[in-house]
C-alpha cells in the first residue's frame, strides 16, 4: 500500500478500445473530473467512420486523449504518458503513440487468441517483448468487473461486462487523483431509470478506483494541481457547442431570430444537434432535404429579416457554392459554416483537415469575393461565430466561417463571458425611403453595404435577383460599365471591412528572424511549439490570422518584416499560396494531411530546421 504521490505539471492520457467499449463516455467523464480539479485541459476524441466498426479490429478502435496540467496548455498533447488499451486491437492501433517508457494499462482478459488474431497479432504482445519498454500493468478488468457486479439483481452477464470501461475510468481516476463523487452522481442521474445498470456502473467504477487505492497495482498516484487560470467562472466546452452558443449570442444581441437550416453531415451535424435544443431562445432549426435547399432556406429567411445560418462540411460546401454566389450578389446577410474534414470527396469523414480555405475564397464562378474567417480554438468558436454574424449583418454579405473536425470535437476550459460585454449587433433595417421619396435598394452606406428592407415594410417593395443589378436602383442591368462598377463595389466591401479589422498581433521575441504564421486550429500547436523553442532559449515570433479574407491591413508588413515565414497547415499549402500571392513573400509551408492535428514536436522540429 502506498500513499505517497508524485507531482507532475502536465499529463497526457489516452483511452482506447472498441467502438462499443464506451471510450468516449470514459473520456468525457474523466474530462469533467479534471475540469473540477481546476487543471487546464485539452481533449481529442478520435473515432471511426462506421457507426459500429467491426469489433476487435484496429479499424474499429475508438480513442480519446486528454492533456491536463497545472499550467495553461494549448493542445491535446503529442504522446500520451499513459495509454489504456481495452483490447489487442486498441494496443495495436495506439502503442506507437505512447511515450518511451510510458505507462500502459491493458485489459488482460481481452488478450484471447481470437482477439489477437482479429487485431492482427501473430503472438501475444504482452508476452513477446512488444511492451517491455513500457511500464505495463496487465489488469484482468473483465474478471474484476464481473466480480464487482455479480451480486446485482437483474443484471445480465453481458451487461455486467459492458461496464468494464467504468472500471478503467475508476482506476485512472485513482491514478491521477480525480475525485470520484461527480462521476458517481452523473452515473446515478444518467441511469436513474435502470437501477441494475446504474448499480453496475457505479460498482465497476468504485472497483477500479479501489483496485488502485488498495495497491493491487504497483503504480504511484500522480498529482496534477490546479492551473493558475484567470479568475472567473469556467466550463468545459467543445467547438460545436461553442459555435452554437456564439450563434445564440448573436441572435440575442441582434434581436434577430436565428434561422438555422442544414443537412446532416459529419462532423457539422453536431451543431444542429446543439441548436435544435434551444427553442427557449426561439431558434428555428430546419433539417432540409439537401445542402442546396438548406442554404436557400437560410437565405430566404435572411430576406425575411432573420439571422440566416447554414452549416456543413466539405462535400456540402461544394453544393452550396451557387447559392452563396447568389447571396453575394443579393448582398444579404448569411453565415455559412464549414466544418472542414479530411478530403477530397468523401475522404476520411471523421478526421480533421484545413483544406477548404482556397475553396472558401475562390470556390464560386465569377468574381464573387466575400469575407472568410476561421475559428482557432474550441472555445474560440464562440467569438468566431459572433464575429461572422456581426460582419454578415453589418456588411450585408454572406460570410464563410471555417471550423474543422478537431475544433468541433476537442474541448477545453472556457472562461465564461458575460453577454452584456459583447458588442451590439444592429440589424439597422430600412424603414423608409432613402433617396428623396424613393427607395433605392442598392444605395450603399459608408461600409459599402446596402439597405436591408424586409417584407412587411410598406412602400419598400423591391425585387432582388442574380442578374446583374444597376448601382443604386437595383434594377436588372446589362450595361457593361455598370457591371464593372458593381464588381468593383462588391470587392470594395471587403476593403472597407479590412479597415475595421484589428491589426494582426505578433508575439515576437527580440531578435526573432522566423515568423510562424497560422490560421484556424493550428493555433494551439503553434503556441506549444513556440513555447518549446523559447524553452530552448531561441527567439521566435508567432501570429495567427482569424480573418483570411480580407486580412488585417498590417498583414503584409508583418510577413515582410521577418527573414523567414513558416506556415504550418493541415493541407498542402493554402494560406501559403495566399501569402505568396498577396505579399510576394517566399514563405515556407509545414504541411500535414493525415487527418490528424500537427504535433508540437513535429512543428518544433520544423522550426528548428529553419532557425539553426
Amino acid at each position: 500500500m502506498t500513499t505517497t504521490s508524485k507531482k507532475l505539471e502536465t499529463v497526457i492520457v489516452r483511452f482506447a478500445g472498441d467502438s462499443g467499449d464506451g471510450m468516449q463516455l470514459v473520456g468525457d467523464r474523466f474530462t469533467a473530473a479534471t475540469a473540477h480539479v481546476g487543471n487546464d485541459l485539452s481533449t481529442l476524441p478520435d473515432f471511426p467512420a462506421e457507426i459500429r466498426a467491426p469489433a476487435g479490429t484496429p479499424g474499429g478502435v475508438s480513442a480519446f486523449q486528454i492533456h491536463f496540467a497545472s499550467r495553461d496548455i494549448l493542445t491535446p498533447g503529442d504522446h500520451p504518458n499513459t495509454l489504456v488499451a481495452m483490447n489487442p486491437a486498441a494496443l495495436k492501433a495506439h502503442l506507437d503513440a505512447l511515450e518511451a517508457g510510458g505507462t500502459l494499462l491493458v485489459n488482460e482478459d481481452a488478450f484471447t487468441p481470437a482477439n489477437l488474431r482479429k487485431a492482427g497479432y501473430e503472438a501475444n504482445p504482452l508476452e513477446d517483448g512488444t511492451v517491455e519498454d513500457y511500464q505495463t500493468f496487465e489488469v484482468p478488468m473483465t474478471t474484476l468487473t464481473t466480480r464487482a457486479t455479480d451480486d446485482i439483481e437483474g443484471l445480465k452477464p453481458a451487461e455486467a461486462q459492458r461496464t468494464k470501461n467504468l472500471f478503467a475510468l475508476g482506476l485512472i481516476s485513482w491514478m491521477y487523483g480525480r475525485p470520484g463523487k461527480a462521476t458517481i452522481s452523473w452515473l446515478e442521474a444518467k441511469f436513474a431509470s435502470k437501477p441494475a445498470i446504474k448499480e453496475a456502473n457505479v460498482a465497476a467504477f468504485k472497483a477500479g478506483y479501489n483496485f488502485g487505492d488498495t495497491a493491487e497495482i504497483a503504480a504511484t498516484p500522480i498529482e496534477v494541481g490546479p492551473a493558475p487560470l484567470d479568475a472567473g467562472e469556467y466550463r468545459n466546452i467543445n467547438g460545436a457547442n461553442a459555435t452554437a452558443m456564439g450563434l445564440l449570442a448573436a441572435s440575442v444581441k441582434s434581436g434577430l431570430q436565428l434561422f438555422f437550416a442544414t443537412y446532416p453531415i459529419t462532423p457539422a451535424s453536431e451543431l444542429l444537434h446543439h441548436l435544435a435544443r434551444h427553442n427557449r431562445f426561439g431558434v428555428r432549426t430546419v433539417q432540409a432535404e439537401d445542402e442546396i435547399a438548406a442554404v436557400n432556406m437560410a437565405l430566404g429567411a435572411s430576406f425575411g429579416g432573420k439571422l440566416g445560418v447554414t452549416a456543413t462540411s466539405g462535400p456540402g460546401m461544394d453544393l452550396k457554392a451557387e447559392t452563396i454566389a447568389l447571396a453575394q450578389v443579393l448582398e444579404l446577410p448569411l453565415v455559412v459554416i464549414d466544418v472542414q474534414r479530411a478530403g477530397p470527396s468523401t475522404g476520411l469523414p471523421t478526421k480533421t483537415e484545413q483544406s477548404d480555405l482556397l475553396m472558401a475564397i475562390h470556390g464560386r464562378h465569377g468574381e464573387s469575393p466575400l469575407p472568410v474567417i476561421a475559428a482557432s480554438t474550441p472555445s474560440g468558436c464562440f467569438d468566431a461565430a459572433v464575429e461572422a454574424a456581426r460582419i454578415a449583418v453589418r456588411h450585408r454579405t454572406p460570410v464563410i466561417l471555417l471550423s474543422d473536425t478537431f475544433l468541433t470535437n476537442s474541448s477545453e476550459p472556457w472562461r465564461l463571458p458575460s453577454m452584456d460585454d459583447l458588442p451590439e449587433i444592429d440589424p439597422d433595417f430600412a424603414i423608409g425611403p432613402n433617396a428623396g421619396d424613393e427607395f433605392l435598394p442598392y444605395l450603399r452606406d459608408e461600409r459599402g453595404a446596402r439597405p436591408w428592407a424586409i417584407p412587411g415594410t410598406p412602400g419598400l417593395q423591391h425585387r432582388l435577383g442574380g442578374l446583374e443589378k444597376e448601382h443604386g436602383s437595383g434594377k436588372v442591368s446589362y450595361d457593361p460599365a455598370n457591371h464593372a462598377l458593381m464588381t468593383k463595389l462588391r470587392a470594395e466591401k471587403l476593403e472597407k471591412l479590412a479597415e475595421e479589422l484589428p491589426p494582426l498581433v505578433v508575439d515576437a521575441d527580440e531578435g526573432a528572424e522566423l515568423l510562424v504564421l497560422g490560421w484556424g486550429s493550428t493555433s494551439g500547436v503553434i503556441g506549444a511549439a513556440a513555447r518549446r523553442i523559447r524553452g530552448r532559449g531561441l527567439p521566435i515570433a508567432i501570429a495567427h490570422l482569424r480573418n483570411l479574407e480580407p486580412m488585417p491591413l498590417n498583414t503584409g508588413d508583418v510577413v515582410r518584416s521577418f527573414d523567414k515565414v513558416l506556415i504550418p497547415e493541415l493541407n498542402t499549402g493554402q494560406l501559403l499560396s495566399l501569402v505568396r500571392d498577396k505579399f510576394l513573400v517566399d514563405a515556407i509551408g509545414h504541411n500535414k494531411v493525415e487527418g490528424l492535428p500537427i504535433l508540437a514536436e513535429e512543428l518544433e522540429q520544423a522550426i528548428l530546421e529553419l532557425i539553426e
Binding site: 467562472e233 434551444h278 436557400n296 432556406m297 435572411s302 463571458p417 433605392l440 410598406p458
Partner: protein, 347 residues
C-alpha cells in the same frame, strides 16, 4: 414609395382600397410578344387586390427561366433566385415569416427538371406557399430544348432525332408527394385561372397549380386541344360536388373503370347517374390521382380545376409561433444562464 418611384396611395394595405396598379412594378416586361405569360401576369395582378393582402406583405419568388421574370413585374417583395431552388428559398421565407403571403413562379424546367426535389419536398411538408408552374412543355429562356413535360419523340434543338424521355405528369407527381392542394388551369382562361388561384390563396399549406402556358416561339400550340378557341369541349371542368361531365353539350362524362382508374364515356351510354361526382376533399389521394391520370398529356379530354384540396398540418406554422414568442422574451440573462448551466467552476 417603391423602387420604381411608383406612387402607392393605397400602400397601407387596407383591403378593398387596393387596386391592380398597386401590384404593377412598372418595370418593362420582356417576354416575347404573344407569350402566354402576359395573360397570367395580368390575371394575377388583377386578383391580388381582391385577396386583400397588401403588396408589402406579399412575396414572389422565382427560379430562372422566362417564367422566372414574373417577379420583376409585381410591385411586391420579390426574389429572382437561381435555377430550380425557388421552393427552397420560399420555404425559408414562409417558415420564418408566417405573416407573409408567399408565391412561387416557376417553369417546367425550373420546377420539374433541376428543381424537382425541392418541389416534392415542399409539397410533402405542406409549406404555406403557392406554387405556380408555368408549363409550356419547353425550355423557353435557353431557346428551345425539350423539358420533362415535353412529349416523347419531341424534336428540339437538343433532340434533333426526337427526345427519348417519357414525360412527367406534373399533377400525378405532386399527388405522389402528398400535395394537399393540386389544381390545373390555362393561361388565357382568365376567369378560370383567377378562380383557381383564389382557391389556392385560400388554402392553408402548399398549393400546387399547373398552368398550361403557350410558348408561341418555341412550342406554339402545345395546348391547342384544350386551350383557346375550340379547346372548350375537351376541358373537363372540375367542380367540387358536381358530376364530371363535359363536352360541347355536356354529352360526355367520367366513370370509374373496372381496374380502379377513371375513364371517359358518352353519358348517353351509361346514364347520368353513373357519372362520378367530383370530391376535392377526399383524404385519400387516389381519386385525385386517377383524375390526374385521365389525361397524361393535354391532347384530348383533360381535367382542369381543383383536383384536391384537403387540410393537413401546415409546416412550421405552430412551432414558429412559439419560437417567435420565445425569441421575443429571451434575454441576455437567459443566455448567461444557459452558458452557466451544467458543470462549471470558479477560479
Amino acid at each position: 414609395m417603391s423602387e420604381n418611384g411608383h406612387d402607392h396611395e393605397h400602400g397601407n394595405g387596407a383591403a378593398g382600397t387596393l387596386t391592380k396598379a398597386d401590384f404593377q412594378s412598372g418595370q418593362e416586361t420582356r417576354w416575347c410578344p404573344g407569350c402566354g405569360d402576359y395573360a397570367i401576369l395580368a390575371s394575377v395582378q388583377a386578383l391580388m387586390p381582391e385577396l386583400g393582402i397588401p403588396p408589402e406583405k406579399t412575396v414572389f419568388i422565382s427560379g430562372i427561366g422566362c417564367a422566372g421574370r414574373f417577379v420583376y413585374y409585381m410591385d411586391t417583395y420579390g426574389m429572382h433566385g437561381i435555377h430550380g431552388r425557388a421552393p427552397a428559398l420560399a420555404t425559408g421565407i414562409a417558415t420564418a415569416r408566417e405573416d407573409l403571403s408567399v408565391w412561387v413562379v416557376s417553369g417546367d424546367g425550373d420546377s420539374l427538371s433541376i428543381g424537382g426535389n425541392h418541389l416534392i419536398h415542399s409539397l410533402r411538408r405542406n409549406v404555406p406557399i403557392k406554387l405556380l408552374l408555368f408549363n409550356n412543355q419547353i425550355y423557353g429562356l435557353t431557346k428551345g430544348q425539350y423539358s420533362p413535360t415535353s412529349e416523347t419523340g419531341k424534336i428540339t434543338k437538343s433532340t434533333p432525332f426526337g427526345s427519348e424521355d417519357h414525360p412527367f405528369n406534373p399533377l400525378a407527381l405532386a399527388l405522389g408527394a402528398d400535395a394537399s392542394f393540386v389544381a390545373r388551369t390555362i393561361d388565357v382562361e382568365k376567369v378560370h385561372l383567377t378562380e383557381v388561384l383564389r382557391k389556392a390563396a385560400e388554402h392553408e399549406g402548399s398549393a400546387f397549380v399547373e398552368i398550361y402556358q403557350n410558348c408561341n416561339v418555341f412550342n406554339d400550340g402545345a395546348f391547342d386541344a384544350v386551350r383557346g378557341k375550340g379547346g372548350g369541349p375537351n376541358q373537363i371542368r372540375l367542380e367540387h360536388g358536381q358530376p364530371l361531365r363535359f363536352g360541347a353539350e355536356n354529352e360526355r362524362g367520367v366513370v370509374r373503370s373496372a381496374d380502379g382508374g377513371l375513364e371517359v364515356v358518352e353519358v348517353a351510354d351509361v346514364g347520368a347517374d353513373a357519372i362520378v361526382v367530383h370530391d376535392a376533399h377526399i383524404e385519400d389521394p387516389s381519386h385525385a390521382t386517377a383524375l390526374a391520370r385521365l389525361a397524361d398529356a393535354p391532347t384530348g379530354p383533360t381535367p382542369i380545376g381543383v383536383f384536391r384540396d384537403v387540410k393537413r398540418p401546415v409546416y412550421g406554422a405552430a412551432r414558429q409561433h412559439e419560437l417567435l414568442e420565445a425569441h421575443a422574451n429571451a434575454t441576455l440573462g437567459d443566455l448567461d444562464e444557459l452558458l452557466r448551466s451544467g458543470d462549471t467552476w470558479t477560479v
